[in-house]
Every structure is written in C-alpha cells, then in structure tokens.
Amino acid sequence: MGTIILEQVTKTFGPVVAVRELSFAVQPGSIFGLVGSNGAGKSTTLKILCGLEKPTSGTARIDGLDCWKQRAQVKLKLGYVPQSFDLYPDLTVEEHLQFFASAFRLDRARREKQIGGLLERTDLLAKKSALAGKISGGQKRLLSLACALVHEPKILFLDEPTAGLDPGHREALWDWLYALAKDGMTIGVTTHYLEEAERCVEIAVMNAGRLMAQGTPTELKKNSLVQPFEIHAEPMIPALNAIKQEPEIFRASLSNGAIRVLAHGPEALYRRLETAWPYPEIRCRQMNWCEPTLDDACSALTLPIKNIPATGAVV
C-alpha cells in the first residue's frame, strides 16, 4: 500500500493561508511531484502529510490513517527528507544510520542488514567512519535519504531533494528513487525546478496554497494555458530587453538561440509584431509558434493569482 489522499485541506498560520482547500490523491508506487514557487504551500503540505502540522480543516490520509490523529502509526509508514536537514556534523555516517535505526526500534539483525545495504547503495561504505560534517554535499544528501529509509517506509517524502546537488549526485539520487518506486514505494517530491518535476510520474502545481493543476507532465503540457512563440532577432540581448517591455508579455527568455515569449493574448501580440515590428534598431529575422514545455505550462499556473488566465485549468 502507500495511498495518499488529501481532502479539502486548509492550513493557516494566523492571518496567512499557507494551504487552501487542497484535494488530491496519489496511487501506490507513484512518483508524485508538488511543484510551485517559494511560498506556494508545498512544504506545508508535506508537513501535514507527515503529521508534523495539524491541518486547520480537512483531512490528510495515508493508507486510510488520519495523518494528524493517527500520526504515531503514520510515522512508521513514511520517511521524510526535509529541505534543510544538515545531519549531525559530529556524528559519523554509520552512527547516523545506527541512531535512526534505534529510533525506529529495529532489532539488531534487521538493523545490521539495513545499514549494510544502505551504506552500499549510497556508496558510503568506505566513509562509514567519517564525520558527516566532513563528507561532500552530495554524500550528505544521500546520507539523509538513507536515514529516512532505514526503517523501510512505504512512502517517502523529499523536500527539494536535489537543491544544491551537482548533476552526478542528482542522477544518482533519481536512479535510487526510481528503483524504490519500482519496488512499490510511493514517493512525493517537492520542487520548483521544472526539469526535476518532469522526472515525476504525476505532478500537482500549487500556487499561493491552491492546487492549480494536476496530471502527468505530458497532460500538463498538452492542456497548457499558454501558447509560446519564438522570435529570432539581432542583436539578441537588446531585442530581449526591448521585448520584455511589451505589456502583454509575462515571461521572455533566451532559449535555443531565440527569444521564447509567453504572453496574455499571444495571437494578438504575435500579429502586431509580425505586421508592424516596432523596434527599428533591431532586425527581426523570423517568428514562429512552438510547443509549450512543462516550464511554460507551470509558469502560467504559478503567476500571481490576479494574472492567471481565467479558464482552462486541468485540475
């Protein structure tokens, strides 16, 4: 098992609404990404699921257990890797695993088996006697993941798991997550990196505490609210700066040697630029429509609420 269900969950901190009437479900064995900018409510949602925060209203359930009321049982089912877990710099790699294994009350035989397996999986066997403060950032991240897995949870939550990691360690971590999911573990990941989210089986996009959309990366791209277009212009940087001044545009960036534009009412803007190019000092060589990426799709959904187009959400 490993089913996650949120029903109308709201969490407020004084006057601040961190999560607003959030509902979604995740099936066992899935890798689920919670996407959104800073302050979107991703980490709070994870904490509610982990039983670390009590929802103001609504219920969060894991395998039918209420995440707050039955948190003692829920804890046994899940592992959590917080964003800012710095480990204990004065404890060795092995002592970390020993400590969490003892905290989860694993018997000696199971403890030794698990710790041995995790040290091997993280490639930290040679470093098992090294202090956590002395190993690299990537190794620390892998160790914190190993600590969360020592009791073999059914569900694993990771808060911004690859923040600050080099590509090599990022790949190693994702390979491990896929292997865990293959064995039936449900994995929840929060991130604001879209290339990261694209690795998930399913994604929920959050903005200002609300769920804006949910689906597979392909579905989100297909149902995107935006229609991007590219401008090939010279010189490139002055062109980018000039284009950004157009009031309809909410995002313009360099991509593959062209300026990629996301705008409200893109057809009208496209026509206007095509018929009367307004920048005489910049030469426009070509304009063309292009397929929205996941980044494009989420950009539209995670704009400040007042700027979001009114229709077409795929929730």
Binding site: P82, F85, L91
Partner: protein, 389 residues
C-alpha cells in the same frame, strides 16, 4: 521507553564528547570560577586598609596611641598631614579613611573634656567604612581602659585611703567601671565565623546552574535550527523520551562537575563536608531542576540566540535573589516569596542545613521535594511545548 531514552542519550553523549571546546569550558572554567569566587568571598577580616594618620598633637599620649594604631594590622597608615577640607584625596590615593589626632588631644584627656579624634571615611565602600570606624573605636577603647588602669595605679596614698572608706558595694561598683566589660559568646554553628563556609553552597550552585542551564538551553533549539528536529519528530520516539534522553548525559556530566567543583572548594578553602549522601541527593535534584529549566527554555525558544538571552534573563534574578551570597531574610517579603521558586534558593538552604547546622535530614525534605516537583513540572511543560510544535 527506556530504549527510546537511551537512543537519544547516546546521540547526545556523542555530541558532548566530540565537542572538545565545550569539554574544556565545562571542566576547566568551573573549578577556576569556584576558586576565584571563593577567594573573593573568603576575606572577611580586613587587613592593611590604606589610610592617613595625622598626629597634630605630638604629645606623649598621642604618640602612645599612634603606636597602638600602627601595630594594628587592620591598617596600613601613612603618617602625614591631612589637607583639611580636601576629601578628594581619598579616591585620588585610593584611601579608605583619615585619622586626625587634633592638637591638644593628649592634654584634654586630663581635663575632663577630652577632644574627639577626627575621622574622614570613604562611605562609597559600605563594608570598609564602618569596619574602619569600629576598629578605631576599639583601639580607642583599649587605650582608654589602659589609661584608667594607669590612673588607678598612680593614685596618691590619701586617695586610696578615701576609697577604702567607701562602702563595699560602692567600691565594687567603681572597680567594675574601671575594667572593660565583655561577653562570653558560644558559636555552635560555623564557630570559626568563616564566611566561606556560608557562601560555598552559593558558589557551587552558581557554577552548576550557569553551566547546566546554558548547556541544555540550546540542545533542542539547535536541532530545530538545523532541521534535524523534524527528523526526530518523525521517528516513533515520544517527545517525553526525547526530553529525558537529552537530560540524561548532561545529568551525568553535571554530577562530574559537582564532584570537581566540590573538591576544588574542599581543597582550596579547607572545607569539611558532612552527610555526603544527603549533599549528593541535594545536588542531584538541583542539577535535575536546572537541566529541566534549560530544556524548558530550549523548547520555547525559536533560535539559539533567543535561548541564550532567555537563559541570561532568568539566571540573573535567580543568582542575585536566591540567598546564595546574603541571607534571604534581609530581602523584602515579596522578593522572598519570589525567591522560593528558585532552585538555587532551596539548594543553598538545604546545603547549609546539612553542612553548617548538621541538622537532621528530615529538615531538608521540603527543599528536596520542591526541587523534585519543579524538575518534573518543567520536564512535563517542555514535553508539552515540543508536542505543540
């Protein structure tokens, strides 16, 4: 429950033994502070108090009195002229006072209208000034007694005949007036009147409280700041197990500290301990209360800075108002009521009852109960605060 506590205690123990700087602070500073504070408090009889002695009389009587004063090791006199009306000389030359023997003083003693000695004292030091005056008056009294004895010894024959004719009762009365009256004091407790014996529980308690509260006040909040507390909270460990597990290694460390500080006091000030067992129990409960107080601070603070500030704000009144260095009875009633909730108050009270008064241990049950109850309440409160997040 026990396994959970031991699991956390083991982790905390590793943190402790690997923090070498902390261990140095814990094991070097406390005996040093104990020795320093003890030496500061040990001096009760003032010696070599710097002062000016101005003998303006230059008579045989004044010379005799000057000789008496200069052989008293309480003072260290500079015999010179005091510039009248210039008391600023006291702070400028770091003097405690001036003794002026006025001109004609010796002669006036025989006239029936003796002139008074002139004293100029530095009242900013409220201990030295009255002591200085008392010592001068004591010397003057001794001198006067000697003077009367000499006078009687040198009375002419006729005067003695007149005295012999007086009624016995009157003669005895006169005789009684001519000798110095005294007392016969019995001091069953602290017979040596050693201030250090009174103040030593305060010093030990102060050192223990400073170290224990500041050590534990950061333990939980440090984990909160580093993010590891979320990991702890997600284990099946109960908050009560986390709290007790964090207290345990610090408790044993503090016991070592108590031994170290106690032995320092014994060696440095030749202190004698009575009823080791009861003193040990008193120290255990006091340490438990102090550690719980530190942990409580750690559970309500959001940052380590906040925890340190809270510790200081709480420790300062405790150290001053707990009767550690001055009798509690001298404090206003309201302050006495407040001080009754401080652990140091009860630790010092019980320590003195045992060690100075050699009292029956049943007399300290009240103090021990308050220390125990206070510790339990704070541990429960810490657990509740952690549970609420």
């Amino acid at each position: 429950m026990i396994n959970g506590i031991l699991c956390i205690a083991w982790k905390e123990f590793l943190h402790l033994v690997r923090d070498r700087r902390l261990l140095v602070i814990v094991f070097i500073l406390p005996p040093l502070i104990t020795a320093l504070l003890g030496n500061a408090f040990e001096v009760t009889d003032l010696k070599g108090v710097p002062a000016i002695l101005d003998d303006q009389d230059r008579s045989p009587e004044s010379a005799e009195f000057v000789k008496k004063l200069t052989t008293d090791d309480t003072f260290h006199f500079a015999e010179e002229t005091y510039p009248v009306g210039q008391p600023q000389i006291l702070p400028r030359r770091n003097l405690a006072g001036v003794v002026v023997i006025p001109q004609g003083w010796g002669a006036s003693l025989a006239t029936g209208k003796p002139k008074k000695l002139q004293l100029v004292l530095d009242g900013s030091d409220t201990t030295t000034a009255p002591y200085f005056q008392g010592e001068i008056e004591k010397n003057l009294g001794d001198y006067q007694t000697d003077h009367i004895q000499n006078l009687i010894a040198t009375l002419p024959e006729e005067s003695l005949n007149i005295l012999a004719k007086l009624p016995d009762a009157t003669r005895d009365q006169l005789k009684g007036q001519s000798v110095r009256w005294g007392d016969d004091a019995t001091i069953p407790f602290n017979p040596g009147l050693r201030f250090i014996d009174y103040v030593v529980p305060g010093i030990i308690g102060l050192v223990l409280q400073l170290v224990t509260v500041t050590l534990t006040s950061c333990t939980i909040v440090r984990e909160r700041e580093s993010g590891s507390f979320s990991q702890l909270a997600l284990t099946p460990l109960r908050f009560s197990e986390i709290v007790l597990g964090k207290v345990l290694p610090y408790f044993f460390l503090s016991l070592l500290l108590t031994l170290e500080v106690g032995l320092t006091a014994q060696w440095e000030f030749q202190l004698t301990y009575h009823h080791w067992d009861w003193l040990f129990l008193n120290a255990c409960l006091f340490i438990l209360f102090s550690l719980s107080l530190g942990l409580f601070i750690s559970s309500i603070a959001r940052t380590q800075t906040q925890a340190m500030q809270l510790s200081m704000f709480l420790l300062l009144p405790i150290l001053i108002l707990s009767g550690a260095f001055a009798p509690l009875s001298q404090l206003p009633d309201a302050v006495q009521v407040l001080s009754s909730i401080f652990p140091l108050t009860h630790y010092c009270h019980a320590f003195r009852l045992i060690n100075i008064y050699n009292a029956d241990p049943s007399l300290i049950y009240g103090d021990l109960t308050i220390l125990l109850v206070g510790a339990v309440l704070l541990l429960v409160a810490s657990t509740q605060f952690l549970r609420r997040g």
